[in-house]
């Protein structure tokens, strides 16, 4: 199967690092970051529901990817390898957030979800969309999914990965991925579908 553009880029960066050309490798890496960044923040934000944490997890993941680029295997799509590292970074963040909250004064919410003020002309199209009642219902429904279901659903549906790719990224069997995906969609239908 032909390598994706991002896998080719990752292979080039790996070769540059192996050849001691770190500056050139970093230069190429900035392209790869730009190509994957939007997708990465969508996954991390969906998973962590907190912009600061998502930012942190995405940065950690990109730094780890570059630091370990020589262990990247070209037979694996870069997206899958990167997703695995990103999901691990999200898990680490959740752990440290749990630890933080354990020592912090209890607050009503640990997340900084998008503001739900009435739409104004200054808002971006994204902000206007997320401030509708329907969007709030959807966000609440997605948030109510258990962690694994939400992760699988996000990777399959929001990040548009196949169940085989998600199974590789999460280290779960494909059958397990499908079970979590089906449960997630059934629950979302129950909560959101209108006759």
């Amino acid at each position: 199967m032909p390598l994706s553009r991002d896998s080719q880029l990752a292979a080039e960066i790996k070769a540059l690092v192996a050849g001691g050309e770190r500056d050139a490798a970093r230069d190429r890496y900035s392209d790869l970051v730009a190509r994957q960044q939007r997708r990465a923040v969508r996954i991390a934000y969906q998973y962590l529901r907190d912009a600061h944490d998502a930012d942190e997890a995405v940065q950690d993941a990109f730094v780890k990817v570059f630091t370990h680029i020589t262990s990247y295997r070209e037979d694996l799509p870069f997206e899958v390898w990167f997703t695995r590292i990103l999901v691990n970074a999200c898990l680490d963040l959740r752990k440290s957030r749990a630890r933080r909250l354990r020592w912090a004064v209890p607050m009503s919410s640990a997340t900084d979800t998008t503001p739900t003020d009435p739409p104004t002309r200054d808002q971006s199209p994204e902000q206007r969309l997320v401030s509708t009642e329907r969007a709030k219902e959807i966000a609440t429904a997605v948030e109510s999914l258990p962690g694994r279901q939400r992760t699988v659903f996000t990777l399959c549906h929001v990040a548009e990965q196949t169940t085989a790719e998600v199974s590789q990224a999460l280290g779960l069997s494909e059958a397990t991925v499908r079970v979590h995906l089906f449960r997630a969609v059934r629950k979302l239908r129950r909560l959101l579908e209108r006759e």
Binding site: A51, R99, I138, V142, G147, R178, E193
Partner: protein
């Protein structure tokens, strides 16, 4: 053609994972009920992904993505070199992550330290609280008052002369590098003992 209606699970598969077989295609073409169920589910899934994307995009506008990319690259630039960090007492390395991301400038940091020290000194005169480590605190005041660039190497503890032309971006990323130092990594065993939210459910 298939006369039986499509199951809910099969509809999910058809909407998310695979194309319908010829027989299913024919059934969907002739059964308004199944076709409407499929259309409803597709619309729902579209709504969910639109909202998910919009939420993330609203939280990460292009400027924020550009800042994030700059931080990543700046972090990699320092890879393999000793980090230069500010001379806060070691305990500051354990500050919550949330506080690391706040935008700030060097003068704000210096003013915050100065304010803290004034508070500490005032507190010390008012009450006989034992605050510990008065040495480093005084050292920070002296350095902060004398020069805006007050920082030292993180783990090694040696003081380095810092250049005066660092941008705020570089300054922030240096703080981040300090927070990722081996001292901060000492928390890892504690971290490993903390169950994930889904593990305690």
């Amino acid at each position: 053609m298939t006369s039986r209606h499509l199951s809910d699970d099969r509809l999910i598969e058809l909407c998310m994972l695979e194309a319908p077989s010829m027989a299913e295609q024919q059934h969907l073409g002739s059964c308004c009920q199944c076709d409407a169920r499929r259309a409803r589910l597709l619309a729902l899934l579209d709504d969910v992904s639109d909202v998910a994307a919009a939420q993330a995009d609203a939280a990460f506008p292009p400027e924020r993505l550009a800042r994030q990319q700059a931080r990543i690259l700046s972090h990699l630039q320092h890879d393999g070199r000793p980090a230069r960090v500010i001379t806060f007492p070691a305990a500051h390395a354990y500050e919550p992550i949330a506080s690391r991301r706040r935008p700030g400038t060097r003068w704000i940091a210096a003013a915050a330290v100065a304010g803290l020290v004034i508070g500490l000194v005032a507190g010390r005169f008012g009450h006989d609280y034992s605050l510990g480590r008065p040495g480093p605190v005084r050292a920070i005041v002296a350095r902060a008052a004398g020069a805006p660039e007050f920082r030292a190497a993180g783990s090694s503890g040696t003081i380095r002369e810092a250049s005066t032309d660092l941008s705020d971006e570089e300054f922030l990323s240096e703080i981040e590098i300090a927070l990722d130092s081996p001292t901060a990594a000492a928390l890892q065993p504690l971290d490993d003992l903390t169950p994930l939210p889904w593990e305690v459910r």
